[in-house]
Structure formats: structure tokens, C-alpha cells
């Protein structure tokens, strides 16, 4: 993994999707 600097966008995108998903899930849980 070290040295593979192109994969940084993939790592960041996965983390951003997780964060957005958790935000939306919290709102969804509040609606139930």
C-alpha cells in the first residue's frame, strides 16, 4: 500500500461515503 499514491482518491471516496451514509442514517433513525 505504501507508495501507491493513486489509490488515495479511492480511500478518500470510501471514507466520505461512509461519513455521508452515517449522517443520513442518523436522520433516518430519528424519523422512525
Amino acid at each position: 500500500m505504501a507508495g501507491n499514491r493513486n489509490s488515495k482518491y479511492r480511500t478518500a471516496a470510501i471514507l466520505a461515503v461512509i461519513a455521508l451514509g452515517l449522517f443520513l442514517y442518523t436522520l433516518y433513525a430519528g424519523l422512525k
Partner: protein
């Protein structure tokens, strides 16, 4: 660790902006680290002044200096600013400076996002502070933002929600940057299990932030819609459930406690081996203990809510899961002590703060174990015992580790040695002052003094007076710290590349001060 450090000064072929534009537009991890640390330093004095006003009011029973509502504003803002404006930005400053240097990376993975992550913070701080001058004053419902108080307040409550959103966004951007940097930009040969422990603790902290900050954002978004758009998520009158807010909030806020302490563990794990002149005892167990603490932090949140009422099975689960955290924490304390055992120890200021951290944080950990016991917690809920507990964790824990880290790396950052005599004065006044403030609070809490009150019964007077005297000793001794930092930036004895005899790691292979660009060619780690 490395064959060579590839570092050189500024390029000739492109000019850097100067003046304010240098700082506004910078994408350099060292500049951004410096910005975070100065921001944290300023906010430390802002929130510290609030703490001194609180303690001045509590010097005697009765109302002396301020209206009770202003007192509540001070306690709320002191908590919010110390957490989101001091401890978290300070650790982000350390991460920005040190993670690329420790990994042999030229910068963070996303330098422009790094710039944004910092520069939204002063905006959030402005919103928070500006609310003092708005009708109704600043938020006064406690840093926990519980409804119904937080649904009922004035415009400053909306501003605070906005500020929390901005600070959360900043943390998420910063965390994505740190995880991506650590996973993708390590020097060849630097495997995860060879990484300095500071990087490990920040990697795990960043995951915690990514997993919990969106939950806080969801909770405050629901508060916002309850306040302004007629929803009833937490409004009992409309069929909502205020206790649900507490569940969602503490699902964020308990891991947040570890967000505030895991980087501290990382700093102390760098400092102690250096001044004990021995490798860190039990490196792998330190990594696994950090990960265990992080995982357990997600299943303990309701220990903050024993008094809201819950089934006995729930109380038992949260009581035992909380106590379980003492196991990996105990592993860490054992490893720090074992590192010092039979080491060639010297006691420069960073080491003094690190040793005080180990001793005093452990006291805070033990009072946490006391509070984990459900029947005891029900007695001590919202008393000064809780205030004593979390200040031992956050002042002698998080803040002392920040002082240790500043003294440890300041010569690397500035190229000058700090004044050791002044450093020792700062340490001893802080350590003694801190204990005079917070130790008597255990007794006050056990005797039943509630927190967040501007007035109290006569029998609590003596311990409150002692605490206030300690607070002023502790508070004013931080001016020594300010003088030391400013003097070291300005000048002083020249620091060598390897500032400390026992220091290990890539950051010590570059000159002091660390050049503007470092590791443009990755070093090879054997």
C-alpha cells in the same frame, strides 16, 4: 531508521505568497500545523478566562460577580470551546506537523482540503463567540446541547448548531486526510507495524471521527429542524423523545472522549521512550490496546444516562462494557511504566509532563471506573465528582500531553531550544495548580454539590475556595507557557537535527527547523 533525509530549502523556481496570503492560501502541512496550534493556543486563553470567571464566581456562596444565566453561558461555552476549539485543533496541529514527517511523506494526501479544514474553524469560532453579543446571550444549556433547553433558546442556539456543523465538517475533512495519508503515503519499507505510535493513535482517532462526527451532525440537524421547521424529533409535546437525543448525542460523545485522549496516548508514547532511552515496551500490544479502546468506545454510551432509567440488563451491560475499557487502558499504563523501568531516565520538561500524564490520567481513569458502577453513578450524576473526573482526564490527560508534545517537538519546528528553567517552572506550577483545582472537587461531589450552579450551600465553601485559588495558580502559570513559546520562536540556542539523545524516527533525520519541504524523495526505511 532511514539512510538519509532528503530535505532542502525553498525552491528557486516558484515564489511563495507572503504576509497574510501565505497563511490564507497555504497548502503546506507545516504551515497548517502551525495555524492549528496557534488557533488552539488563542482559544485556550479564551476558554481559560471563562474558567477563571466561573471559579471567581464560585469562590464564595451567593451571587458575587454575574447573573446566573451568564454563569450558565460561561460553563457551556467553556466546555464547547475547550473540546472543539482547543484540544481537537491542537491534536490536529500535531498531526499536520508530525504525521508526514514521521511517515517520510512530502505532505498530507490532500493539501488543499487541509487548508479548508483549518480555515473553516475560525469561522465556527466566530459564530460561537459572536453569540455572546446577541439578544439572550450565548448558549447556556450545557455543552451536551440537550433538549428541551436547546430547543427553547434564542438565535445563539442556531448559531451554535451552525458552528458545530462547521467544526464537524472540518474534523471529517482532516480525518479523511490523515487516514488517506497514513494508508497511502508511507515511505517504502515503513510498514504499518513499524509506524511510530503517534501515527497509529491518530489513524484510529481519525476513524473514530469519521464514524461519530456525522452522527453528531445528524443530531444537531434534528435539533435545528425542531427549532425552526416544526418537527418534533425531541419535543415531547409533539410526540418526540428528548431521551433519544441523549442516546444519539452520547453515541457520538463517548467516542469523542477517546478522540480527545488517543492522540495524547500517542504523544506520550513518543516522549517516554526518548527520555527513558529505551524502545517502547510492548509496541504491538499498544496498537491493539488503542484499537480495543476505540471499538469498546462505541458500546458504552448509555453509562452517561443511567439516571434516565433503563432496564437492569441495560445497566449491567453498559456498566461492565465501561469497566472493560480499563483493561486495554491498563495495558497502556503498564507499558509506559515498563518502558521507564531500568531506563537511563532524564527529566526534561516533556518527560515531566509525560510522567505527570501517566500518574494523573490514571487517577481520572480510576474515578471513571467509580462512575461506571451504575448504583454509584446514580448518586454522583451531575455532581462535582463528575467534573473532577473529566478534568483529570482532559487537563492532566489531554492538555498535559499537548504541553509534553509542544516542548518535545518545538525545537524541531522552530530550530531553537526552549528555556528549560522556565519550562520546569511551567510544569510544576501547572501540576500543583491543577491538583489544587480539581482534587477537592471529588470531595465536593461526594458531599453532593451539583455541577452547573453559580451558588451553593455554605458547607461547600472551603473546598470551593481552595479550588478557586488553584485555578488562578494554574491559569496564570499558562502565561509562562506563552512566554516560552514566543521566546523559542524568536530565538534561543540552536537545536540540532536530533534534538534529544534518545529520539528515534524519521522526523529527527531532517534539520531543525524542519525545512519548508521535506522528503520530496521518499526515504527508505529498513
Amino acid at each position: 531508521m532511514s539512510d538519509a533525509a532528503h530535505a532542502h530549502d525553498d525552491h528557486g523556481h516558484h515564489a511563495h505568497p507572503t504576509g497574510i496570503m501565505r497563511w490564507l492560501s497555504t497548502t503546506n502541512h507545516k504551515d497548517i500545523g502551525t495555524l492549528y496550534l496557534f488557533f488552539a493556543l488563542i482559544m485556550l486563553f479564551v476558554a481559560g478566562t471563562m474558567a477563571l470567571l466561573i471559579r471567581a464566581e464560585l469562590f464564595q456562596p451567593g451571587l458575587q460577580l454575574m447573573h446566573p444565566d451568564f454563569f450558565n453561558q460561561l460553563t457551556t461555552m467553556h466546555g464547547l470551546i475547550m473540546i472543539f476549539g482547543v484540544i481537537m485543533p491542537a491534536f490536529s496541529g500535531f498531526a499536520n506537523w508530525q504525521v508526514p514527517l514521521m511517515l517520510g511523506a512530502p505532505d498530507m494526501a490532500f493539501p488543499r482540503m487541509n487548508n479548508w479544514a483549518f480555515w473553516v474553524l475560525p469561522v465556527a469560532a466566530f459564530f460561537l463567540m459572536a453569540s455572546f453579543w446577541l439578544p439572550g446571550g450565548a448558549v447556556a444549556g450545557g455543552w451536551t446541547m440537550y433538549p428541551p433547553l436547546f430547543i427553547q433558546g434564542g438565535i445563539s442556539y442556531d448559531l451554535t448548531i451552525l458552528a458545530v456543523h462547521i467544526m464537524g465538517l472540518s474534523s471529517i475533512m482532516g480525518s479523511i486526510n490523515i487516514v488517506t495519508t497514513i494508508l497511502n503515503m508511507r515511505a517504502p519499507g515503513l510498514t504499518l507495524m513499524k509506524m511510530p505510535l503517534f501515527c497509529w493513535t491518530w489513524l484510529i482517532t481519525a476513524y473514530l471521527l469519521i464514524a461519530t462526527m456525522p452522527v453528531l451532525a445528524g443530531a444537531v440537524t434534528m435539533l435545528l429542524t425542531d427549532r425552526n421547521f416544526g418537527t418534533h424529533f425531541f419535543n415531547a409535546a409533539g410526540g418526540g423523545d428528548p431521551v433519544m437525543f441523549q442516546h444519539i448525542f452520547w453515541f457520538f460523545a463517548h467516542p469523542e472522549v477517546y478522540i480527545l485522549i488517543l492522540p495524547a496516548f500517542g504523544i506520550v508514547s513518543q516522549v517516554i521512550p526518548t527520555f527513558a532511552r529505551k524502545p517502547l515496551f510492548g509496541y504491538a500490544s499498544m496498537v491493539y490496546a488503542t484499537a480495543s479502546i476505540a471499538i469498546l468506545s462505541f458500546v458504552v454510551w448509555a453509562h452517561h444516562m443511567f439516571t434516565t432509567g433503563m432496564p437492569v440488563a441495560g445497566q449491567l451491560f453498559f456498566m461492565f462494557s465501561t469497566m472493560l475499557i480499563a483493561v486495554p487502558t491498563g495495558v497502556k499504563v503498564f507499558n509506559w511504566v515498563a518502558t521507564m523501568w531500568k531506563g537511563s531516565m532524564t527529566f526534561e520538561t516533556p518527560m515531566l509532563f509525560a510522567i505527570a500524564f501517566v500518574c494523573l490520567f490514571t487517577i481520572g481513569g480510576f474515578s471513571g471506573l467509580v462512575l461506571a458502577i451504575a448504583p454509584v453513578d446514580i448518586q454522583l450524576q451531575d455532581t462535582y465528582y463528575v467534573v473532577a473526573h473529566f478534568h483529570y482526564v482532559l487537563v492532566s490527560g489531554a492538555l498535559f500531553s499537548i504541553f509534553a508534545g509542544i516542548y518535545y517537538w518545538l525545537p524541531k519546528w522552530t530550530g531553537h531550544m526552549y528555556n528549560e528553567t522556565l519550562g520546569k517552572w511551567h510544569f510544576w506550577l501547572s501540576a500543583i495548580g491543577m491538583n489544587i483545582v480539581f482534587f477537592p472537587m471529588h470531595f465536593l461531589g461526594l458531599a453532593g454539590m451539583p455541577r452547573r450552579i453559580p451558588d451553593y450551600a455554605l458547607q461547600f465553601t472551603e473546598f470551593n475556595q481552595i479550588a478557586t485559588v488553584g485555578a488562578f495558580i494554574f491559569g496564570f502559570s499558562q502565561l509562562i507557557f506563552l512566554v516560552i513559546v514566543l521566546k523559542t520562536i524568536k530565538g534561543g540556542a540552536k537545536a540540532p537535527a536530533r534534538v534529544w539523545e534518545g529520539a528515534e524516527g524519521l522526523e529527527w533525520t531532517v534539520p531543525s527547523p524542519a525545512p519548508y519541504h521535506t522528503f520530496e524523495i521518499a526515504p527508505v526505511v529498513k
